[in-house]
């Protein structure tokens, strides 16, 4: 519903500058007035421009309505007029913290339609960079979640680790956030000399520093008091809303596309999926930290198994997907990312629809926020991992 309609419904008869007509509610002896508070769109707690209109009774939230669309950039329409190489460059940007996974999805979708064989080495390099991207993403959420709860230090530690990884990825791809490294049929150019050694070193450093995060945040009593039992998501509700990723794993469901529908070479290596028990904020954070550990294990396995050989193949001058459609899902760091690609045989797709994990994760927020206090609302918002660019595309 549009911004104006929402306002009319919740706050009938008010325009900017008018007096607010308060509705007196309350049960028992206390007569309190309900207040409508709009968190966002520009707010430090929301990860981007997400607006949540909360109807509140004192500090308790009675209802919450997320308003999305502030960052709609028309990706799917743009994709209809761009060829696959240009789409790959654009698609980095809808979930900007997981750029590699996004372009990997597009490349895999087109390769699936063309039934193209990708060289071995390219597959393993894709896996390596996808896992580094996953660690980058999770580190960012660790930092931002801690700072929303008031712990200002883990943000800096997380970014220190991110700088190391971003430098590593920059040496191979040229970019720190938007990689444009994948190609239909492989990757653009091979890794530079010394990359694998540096990758091993950084993996060892991060593994050591992970213990710091566990001590500083997970083990902190104040953090536990703020997050244990807060925002518990039931398994059935999560599945009904289509929540995926660490938010779903926290409820106990180990649904991970790398395991259930292996793409690349994930079927040949060990992929650990950490799960939680209660689905509360603490478990979601716990899954996040342990997913980093799982990704480090995968990176070690990829280092050992990396073959040599070519990394791309000769492409026709213009890459055209044959007529037909395909659906491909991969494990974005935030959850399950799906691409529905329908082609009419030309170089631009007929329709490219993205099933983004953040969209479904945001959908479950009203359910979680009902009945909680405002500081808990912030804790919940930060723990349901989403990126607004992913929600709105």
């Amino acid at each position: 519903m549009s911004d104006l309609e929402t306002r009319e419904r919740i706050h009938p008869g008010t325009a900017p500058g008018e007096d607010i007509a308060l509705e007196i509610i309350g049960d028992g002896d206390f007569d309190t007035a309900e207040m409508t508070l709009s968190i966002g769109p520009a707010h430090p707690a929301t990860h981007g421009v997400l607006r949540i209109i909360m109807e509140m009774d004192g500090e308790r939230i009675r209802d919450a309505h997320p308003v999305i669309g502030y960052m709609h950039r028309g990706f799917e329409k743009l994709a209809e007029h761009r060829d696959y190489r240009q789409i790959k460059a654009l698609v980095n940007r809808h979930d900007w913290l997981s750029g590699f996974a996004n372009e990997l999805g597009v490349a895999l979708a087109v390769e699936k339609m063309l039934e193209m064989e990708v060289p071995e080495r390219a597959v393993w390099i894709r896996m390596l960079l996808a896992e580094w991207n996953r660690i980058l993403n999770h580190l960012m959420f660790i930092g931002s979640y801690a700072i929303e709860l008031g712990a200002i230090t883990p943000m800096f530690y997380a970014f220190r680790e991110r700088e190391d990884i971003q430098y590593l990825l920059e040496s191979a791809t040229g970019g720190r956030l938007h990689f444009t490294y994948n190609q239909v049929g492989g990757i653009k150019v091979d890794l530079p000399k010394g990359f694998l050694q540096q990758s091993t070193d950084i993996a060892a450093t991060i593994r050591k520093r992970l213990q710091d995060y566990k001590d500083l945040i997970l083990g902190n009593e104040i953090f536990q008091a703020r997050t244990v039992g807060v925002g518990a998501l039931e398994r059935e509700v999560a599945l009904a809303y289509g929540v995926t990723g660490p938010t779903l794993h926290a409820t106990g469901v180990a649904e991970d596309s790398r395991v259930t529908e292996p793409y690349l070479k994930y079927g040949e290596i060990d992929v650990t999926v950490p799960v939680g028990e209660h689905g509360d904020c603490y478990d979601r954070f716990y899954c996040l930290v342990h997913r980093i550990q799982a990704s480090l294990d995968i990176i070690d396995q990829v280092h050992d198994a990396m073959p040599s050989g070519p990394v791309n193949q000769k492409l026709p001058k213009v890459v055209k997907a044959p007529e037909g459609w395909t659906y491909l899902r991969i494990e974005n760091p935030l959850g399950q990312l799906g691409y529905y690609l329908e082609s009419d045989g030309t170089k631009t797709p007929w329709r490219l629809k993205m099933r983004t994990p953040s969209f479904s994760n945001v959908a479950v927020i009203p359910h979680l926020l009902r009945g909680t206090l405002v500081p808990d609302a912030i804790a919940v918002l930060g723990s349901v991992f989403f990126v607004v660019g992913d929600v709105d595309r």
């Binding site: 707690a45 709860l149 712990a151 530690y157 220190r160 008091a225 206090l373």
Partner: protein, 363 residues
């Protein structure tokens, strides 16, 4: 005038010269640096300590190693435009920072800094200090209300609830000290710490040793009084932008910040006086050049300087710990805060008083 004052004062300081206005001038000269310079140094320390604990450097550009950063901040605040929201209550909005700031200055009047260096030694010094520090709450509430901003209102109401809740443990812990020192005068408390012997032995101890629990309670309660993390729900900058200070800009904002840092210094100074033996270097060791009781009074110039240095050192140590706690911990939720105060701290404070009273009578 001076007759009235001399009845309230107990121990004259060296600033109590014969000329009345001269004495007033000297005392103002003592208070102003305490209030304007020491908090700035504490602020610089906070910048640098926070930065290094977060693996970064902190201010480096303004002055060598960023020493003039807060001076630059002050100049910046002075030249900012003073914005008052249209829907705000103008007078209340304008007065709120003043109401918050002035009591924070007034508390320094009774704090003894060095041997015979204080503004006034009131008989009810401790009572005055704790009472005056509570007036700042009104300023915070005024700021939250008059801002015409829902987030500020949240912040103001949270602050009021929190500060009222934590006044009790503060006062109860201080009461235990008053019981042990048998006086409410701050100078007398310092004096009694210098002469306090454990049991029947000759070991001189500060009050922090027998009243470690009371010290911890006072420290935590003062953190909550100052809205410092982990008790900074009223400011909670990831939720409420900046709580009651959101709509303030320029000098008014600077006044609120100065209240916070000045409060840090005054609370630390109060804790130094109540628990850490004031300007005594180590328990049992007299200051050089001091002849008076306990080796901390009737000192020469050297003793005064060393004593002042010792007090400042203790203040910096306590504020360092405040910064350290800020950097490390997330913040407690409002209801957890309240529960902690009422169900944990108040009973502990009462137990502390009981133990001290019994100890006082028995030993």
């Amino acid at each position: 005038m001076s007759a009235v004052l001399s009845q309230l004062a107990v121990t004259p300081s060296i600033l109590d010269i014969d000329n009345f206005w001269g004495a007033v001038g000297l005392k103002i000269l003592l208070i102003l640096p305490l209030f304007f310079v020491v908090p700035l140094v504490v602020g610089y320390m906070e910048h640098k300590v926070m930065a290094h604990q977060q693996d970064r450097l902190g201010p480096m550009e303004a002055g060598p190693h960023g020493t003039l950063q807060l001076v630059a901040d002050g100049i910046k605040f002075i030249q900012k435009e003073d914005i008052i929201p249209r829907a705000a209550d103008r007078w209340v909005f304008a007065m709120a920072p003043g109401v918050a700031l002035v009591p924070a200055i007034l508390i320094f009047f009774v704090l003894p800094v060095a041997p015979e260096v204080w503004a006034e030694d009131l008989e009810l010094g401790l009572f005055y200090a704790l009472g005056i520090s509570s007036i700042s709450v009104i300023g915070i509430l005024m700021g939250g209300w008059a801002s015409a901003n829902k987030f500020s209102l949240f912040g103001g109401v949270r602050a009021a609830a929190q500060l009222i809740a934590y006044e009790l443990p503060l006062i109860l812990a201080a009461a235990a000290v008053a019981i042990q020192a048998e006086s409410l005068s701050l100078v007398d408390i310092v004096n009694s710490q210098a002469t306090f012997m454990l049991g029947n032995t000759e070991i001189n101890l500060w009050f922090v040793f027998p009243q470690a629990l009371g010290f911890a309670l006072f420290y935590v309660a003062s953190l909550a009084e100052l809205s410092r993390p982990p008790f900074d729900m009223p400011i909670a900058d990831s939720e409420l932008v900046f709580g009651y200070m959101t709509e303030y800009s320029g000098i008014k904002f600077a006044m609120f910040l100065l209240t916070e840092y000045g409060g840090m210094v005054s609370m630390s100074a109060l804790m130094t006086v109540l628990y850490l033996g004031g300007w005594q270097i180590v328990p049992g060791v007299p200051l050089p050049g001091c002849d008076g009781a306990g080796g901390i009074f009737d000192c020469g110039a050297l003793g005064i300087l060393i004593g002042g240095g010792v007090t400042l050192g203790k203040i910096f140590l306590l504020t360092f710990i405040m910064v350290w706690l800020r950097v490390t911990y997330p913040r407690l939720r409002e209801d957890q805060l309240q529960k902690f105060s009422w169900t944990v701290m108040v009973p502990l404070a009462l137990i502390n008083i009981g133990v001290v009273a019994v100890g006082k009578v028995a030993f």
